[in-house]
C-alpha cells in the first residue's frame, strides 16, 4: 500500500526537528520516530447509531438488540441524529472543518461480532477534516512544551459486538469456541485519525490525554479506557532524518495511556534493531503484551485486506449547512486549554490543573470556588487527599456524594482553625462514608473532631506533659531540639489528636523556656 491517506492524498508528516524532539540513537546512527494515532470514541447517546436499542453498558447479553443491530435479513439502518450532532461538536472542539455533505460507506469484512459482515463507516467524505490539537508535553522539570498534532479526519461509524472466548485460556488464541453478545454492536463510534506528527512517546501520551479531556469536556463520551469507551491504536515507523516515511506497524491492545507510551518506545527500538540488523519492517498489526512489555505479530491475515468500500445504498447523505454548524458551535463548552489557563490564573499549578481536567474534576473545582474556596486550596484537596481516598475506595466522586460545596466547607473549617489538615482528612473520610449525606461540619461535630486551640485548655495539658517528662525536657534544654517532637506526640495523645500542632509547639517552647 502506498503512503496515502484514505482520501488519497499523500501523507505529510512533520519532523522531530520541527517539534524539538530528540532523535533516537541506534548503533548505526540517528533515527526519527514517526507515530500517528487512531482513536475510537464510543458516544454516550441513549440509543445506537442505526436503531433505537439502548446503549446501556453492562446489560445482560443480547438484551439490547433488535432486527437492525443483529443484521436480520430485511432490516435497515436509520441515522441517530444525536450522534451526528455529537460528532460535529467534537469535530469543532478539535478545530476541524465540517464537511458540507458527507456520506456513509460500507467496509466489507467477515467477523462474527460484526452482525452484517460489513461495518457502516465513512470513507472518502468523512464528517470532519483537517483539525488539530495543541498538546502540552511535560518536559520533566515541572515545565511543559506545546506541540501541535494535526488531525486528518474524524468519522462516524458503528461498534462491533463482544466475543467471549470459551475453553482453554479465555483469550482468542487457544479458545475452542467464541460466544457473541451483540449489545455493543451498532453503538455509535467516532474514529479520530491523527497525522503522523508525533515523534516521541511523551507527545503521544499527551495527545491521548488531551483528546480524552476534550471528549469529556464536550460530554459526548465518558472516554473511559478501562471500559473501552475510548480506544487507541498506534501506527509506528522509524526513518533516517530526511528520508521518506518508513514502513509502519499498527499496534493494538493499548489499554492505558501508560501502555501507549511503553508500546511506542518498545516498538521504536524493535524496528531500529531490525533495520540495523539488515532486516526490513513488515506492514502488520502487532499486539501489545502489557505483562511482558513487548509487541508481537498478531496472527497473519489469511489474505490481503480488501474492504471493498462502497457507498451504503441504505443511507442517504448528511449535510451540515453553515447555520447548523454554527448552532452546534454555540454548544461548545470551555475546552481544556482554556480551563488550564483559567486554573493557572486561580493559582493552581499546571500539574494540578492538568490532573483536575483529566480526571473530570473541573465542575467540582468550579463549585468549590463558587462556594468561596481558595482556588489553590481547592485544587490541592481535590487532586490530593480526596482523589487518593476515592481511588482507595474505588469510588467515583459522584458516587461518593462529594460536592464542590463540601470542599469549600472543608477548607473554611481549616482556615478558621476548627480542623487541622490531619483532622480534615478524617472528615473527608466521614463525608465519603456518609455518601455525602453529611457535610464536613456535620461529620466533624458528630465525630467530635475539632482542633484544641483554646489557649487555656492547651496550656494546662502542655504543663502536665512537661511535668511528666523531665528527662526529655532536660535533653531539649541540653540542645536536642528534635526531642520536642516526642512531647508534641504526648500532647496529641492527650488530646486524641485534636491539638493544633503549631500552637502546641509554641506553648511547649514557652513552658520549657
Amino acid at each position: 500500500m502506498s503512503a496515502t491517506t484514505m482520501s488519497g492524498e499523500p501523507i505529510s508528516a512533520t519532523t522531530a526537528a520541527e517539534h524539538g524532539v530528540d532523535l533516537l540513537q541506534g548503533d548505526t546512527g540517528e533515527w526519527e520516530l514517526v507515530v500517528g494515532l487512531e482513536v475510537h470514541v464510543e458516544l454516550q447517546t441513549r440509543t445506537k447509531m442505526w436503531c433505537g436499542c439502548s446503549t446501556d453498558f453492562g446489560a445482560d447479553p443480547n438484551t439490547n438488540v433488535c432486527p437492525v443491530c443483529t443484521g436480520q435479513p430485511g432490516a435497515l439502518p436509520v441515522v441517530n441524529e444525536q450522534a451526528v450532532r455529537d460528532a460535529t461538536l467534537l469535530g469543532l472542539a478539535l478545530n476541524g472543518e465540517i464537511a458540507p455533505i458527507c456520506r456513509f460507506h460500507r467496509k466489507n469484512y467477515f467477523y462474527p461480532d460484526l452482525a452484517k459482515n460489513y461495518q457502516i463507516s465513512q470513507y472518502d467524505v468523512p464528517l470532519v477534516n483537517d483539525g488539530w490539537l495543541d498538546v502540552e508535553v511535560p518536559t520533566g522539570d515541572g515545565q511543559s512544551v506545546s506541540r501541535r498534532v494535526r488531525i486528518e479526519r474524524l468519522h462516524m461509524e458503528e461498534d462491533t459486538g463482544k466475543s467471549l472466548h470459551v475453553g482453554d485460556t479465555g483469550r482468542l488464541h487457544g479458545a475452542d469456541r467464541s460466544l457473541i453478545d451483540y449489545n455493543r454492536c451498532g453503538i455509535p463510534l467516532l474514529e479520530i485519525v491523527s497525522r503522523p506528527d508525533i515523534h516521541d512517546a511523551d507527545t503521544a501520551q499527551a495527545y491521548l490525554r488531551e483528546l480524552q479531556s476534550i471528549v469529556r469536556a464536550t460530554g459526548v463520551s465518558d472516554a473511559r479506557m478501562e471500559e473501552g469507551s475510548i480506544r487507541c491504536d498506534a501506527n509506528v515507523s522509524v526513518r533516517r532524518p530526511g528520508d521518506e516515511l518508513g514502513t509502519r506497524t499498527e499496534i493494538k491492545n493499548l489499554n492505558s495511556i501508560r501502555s501507549l507510551g511503553r508500546a511506542i518506545a518498545y516498538e521504536a527500538q524493535r524496528q531500529i534493531g531490525v533495520i540495523e540488523d539488515g532486516g526490513t519492517i513488515v506492514m502488520e498489526t502487532r499486539h501489545w503484551d502489557e505483562g511482558r512489555g513487548v509487541t508481537e505479530t498478531l496472527r497473519v491475515k489469511e489474505s490481503v485486506t480488501d474492504y471493498r468500500y462502497f457507498p451504503d445504498p441504505d443511507l442517504v447523505e448528511i449535510t451540515s449547512p453553515a447555520e447548523k454548524v454554527e448552532a452546534i458551535r454555540t454548544l461548545l463548552p470551555e475546552l481544556p486549554a482554556a480551563s488550564r489557563a483559567r486554573l493557572g490564573e486561580a493559582g493552581v499549578t499546571p500539574e494540578q490543573a492538568a490532573a483536575i481536567i483529566a480526571t473530570g474534576l473541573l465542575p467540582w473545582f468550579d463549585d468549590a470556588v463558587a462556594a468561596g474556596a481558595d482556588g489553590a486550596a481547592a485544587a490541592n484537596w481535590l487532586v490530593g487527599d480526596i482523589a487518593g481516598q476515592l481511588s482507595a475506595e474505588g469510588l467515583r466522586i459522584e458516587a461518593a456524594g462529594l460536592t464542590g460545596a463540601h470542599v469549600a466547607e472543608l477548607i473554611a473549617l481549616i482556615e478558621d482553625g476548627t480542623l487541622s489538615t490531619k483532622l480534615a482528612k478524617q472528615v473527608v473520610a466521614g463525608v465519603i462514608d456518609a455518601r455525602g449525606a453529611k457535610g464536613p461540619a456535620q461529620v466533624a461535630e458528630d465525630q467530635g473532631l475539632r482542633q484544641v486551640s483554646d489557649e487555656g485548655e492547651l496550656r494546662t495539658i502542655v504543663e502536665q506533659v512537661v511535668a511528666a517528662n523531665a528527662d526529655t525536657v532536660e535533653a531539649i534544654r541540653g540542645g536536642n531540639d528534635k526531642a520536642i517532637g516526642a512531647l508534641v506526640g504526648q500532647v496529641m495523645k492527650e488530646t486524641r489528636g485534636q491539638a493544633d500542632p503549631r500552637k502546641t509547639n509554641e506553648l511547649l517552647r514557652e513552658v520549657i523556656g
Binding site: T47, G52, P61, V65, Q82, Y111, S163, A175, D176, S178
Partner: protein
C-alpha cells in the same frame, strides 16, 4: 477481462465462499463472459459525471435519539444455529479482527 482460476479463488476468499475445484473451473469462463459484457459501461465517456447511488437525492434522514423496545432475547436466539450462555456460538475464530 478473463478471470483465471486463481483470480476466481481470490474473489471466493474475499466473498467467503468455499468453492470446489469444479465450481472454480465452471465459474472462470462464466464470470469472464459476464464481465466482458458488463465492461461495455467503459465505452461511455463519463469522466465528469457524478455517480448515482439513489434515484432520489434524499438527504439528512435521521431519527431522534429515543430508545425503542428491543426484541426479547429468546426471539433473537431462537434462530441461532448454536446458542450458549445467552450468546451466539461460533467455532474457534482464527482470523484477525477488522
Amino acid at each position: 477481462m478473463a478471470l483465471s482460476a486463481d483470480e476466481v479463488r481470490h474473489v471466493a476468499r474475499l466473498a467467503r465462499l468455499a468453492l470446489t475445484d469444479a465450481e472454480v473451473e465452471a465459474l472462470a469462463p462464466q464470470l469472464s463472459q459476464i464481465l466482458a459484457y458488463a465492461e461495455q459501461v467503459g465505452e461511455v465517456a463519463a469522466q465528469d459525471v457524478e455517480p448515482t447511488t439513489h434515484p432520489f437525492a434524499l438527504r439528512d434522514v435521521s431519527r431522534p435519539d429515543e430508545p425503542q423496545p428491543s426484541l426479547p432475547r429468546e426471539d433473537v436466539l431462537a434462530a441461532a444455529p448454536h446458542a450458549e450462555q445467552d450468546r451466539f456460538g461460533v467455532p474457534r475464530i482464527v482470523s484477525e479482527e477488522g
